[in-house]
Structure formats: structure tokens, C-alpha cells
Symmetry: C2
Subunit: 115 residues, 2 copies
Amino acid sequence: MTYAKTTEFTQEQQELARVAKALGHPARVAIIQLLASKQTCISGDIAAELPLSRTTVSQHLQELKALDLIRGEIDGLTVCYCLNTELLRKVHQQFTAFFVESTATSACAPGGTCC
Amino acid sequence: MTYAKTTEFTQEQQELARVAKALGHPARVAIIQLLASKQTCISGDIAAELPLSRTTVSQHLQELKALDLIRGEIDGLTVCYCLNTELLRKVHQQFTAFFVESTATSACAPGGTCC
DNA sequence: ATACCATGTCGTATAATTGCAACATACTTC
DNA sequence: GAAGTATGTTGCAATTATACGACATGGTAT
């Protein structure tokens, strides 16, 4: 984004926002859940299970791949997508840190001195 | 979205995606962090700390308010925004459940039978 | 009442996202 | 090599997000 002043924000804030944005569409959430549960992670099978066209699913897959949340291995004619569980664990920690920080009782919380 | 087929996804998937989308911009991440750390949560003070115009910050605040992640109370001339810590805790649980499910060793994970 | 101040809303412009059909690519099989 | 299959890429249209100036609103203070 050259338009948005995202440069002015913290590296951590941008990092968290980038991943959150990737999870900001039900299709991509569904894809990750599918990859976690299904034995097969072939591209075509993923598209078949989602209420979207193969083209659109492919785009969502590329988006997740761009963030390295998933990886694709070409296996002959088909492509097999896998979760990057290590990165997902790291992301989980980032989110947890964010939420813990946010839910800690601050002055602004109910019962605080502010509101 | 009347265009997207979001209706076909799970309620949970849509719910998670909706919140993730809200966190999908560094400004909104920064706002939540600010509200968690600062004593004052007055609208103007928030805008002053962010590299965005007051108008734009106000929009982001409305977006967070629409999801009930934050709440605003009019205090005379100023408006005081507060974190909805209860909801944030609930959201944290949803995210954790999602990540735990995703990072559990599946057949697709490295060492699995798939890739 | 008048002037002022803090916020929100509206209008507008630009960028990014979403979705899909049509085409291109690359491998398999006959 | 030709036909078929699975994917990715391109091009286009519609929707949504982002950003901000200008105006409206509503309370404060003098």
C-alpha cells in the first residue's frame, strides 16, 4: 500500500495485521481448517469442498502461500498443499500476546478510572 | 456482501473471519493497544497518536465499535473509548481454538502421509 | 446568544479485494 | 505426438476498504 501510511506503524502491528487480514475471509479460514482435518490436501479437492469456483479458491490459496502459512508441493499432475504448522504456532503466540496485553485490566476497562 | 457466497460458510468461520478482518489493519491494532495501555482513551488523543487524519481514525473507531470490540461513552464534550475486555477474551478463545486445531499434527503436516 | 471546541457524518477519490470465465502451462497417458 | 487432466495466470467487472477535506452536530464557556 503506497496509499496508506502503514510505514508509520510498528513492525509488530503490521505483521499482526497482515496475518489477521489473511484470516479475514471465511474461505481462507475454511481452507486452513480443511488442510488440518483432511487426509488429502490436493488443490482440486479443496476447491470441490468450498462454495467458490476453482479459480477463486486458487487465488485464496496463493494468498495464504504468499504469507507462507501454507506450502504447495507439485506431485506430478496434482499440487499438494500443506499447513506450515511451525509458522502457525508462531502466529498463535503473537495473537495470544496481543490478546493478553489487551485483556489485561487497564484504566479504561470497566471498573477503571476512565469510563 | 451480496456478491460473495459467504452464506455457504460456517457461522464460526464467518465469525472468526469478521474479527480477523477487523484486526487486519495496523491502525486498528494500534488503537486497541493504545486503549489497553493509555490512561486516557479520548477520541482526539487516539487520533493524535496515529499517523492518520482524525477523520480516518474516527472511521476505524466506528469499525471496531460496530463489532463491539470497543465502546464509546460521551463524556460532555469528549468521547471516551474503552475496550470490551470480555468480548476480547472470548475472541481470544476462538482464535486459540482455531490455532490449536490447525497446529495439531495432521496427515498433511511435515512427517505426515501426504506431503 | 455567540463563539468555540471535540466528534461524527457525508461526499469523493483512489486503491485493494473478490469472483469468475477464458486462456496458458505442464504433466500423464494412450 | 495427440488427447486429456489438473493448476496456475490473465483480464475484467463489481464490491469493499482506505483516506481525507468539508460540513453538521452538540455540548462548553464567556
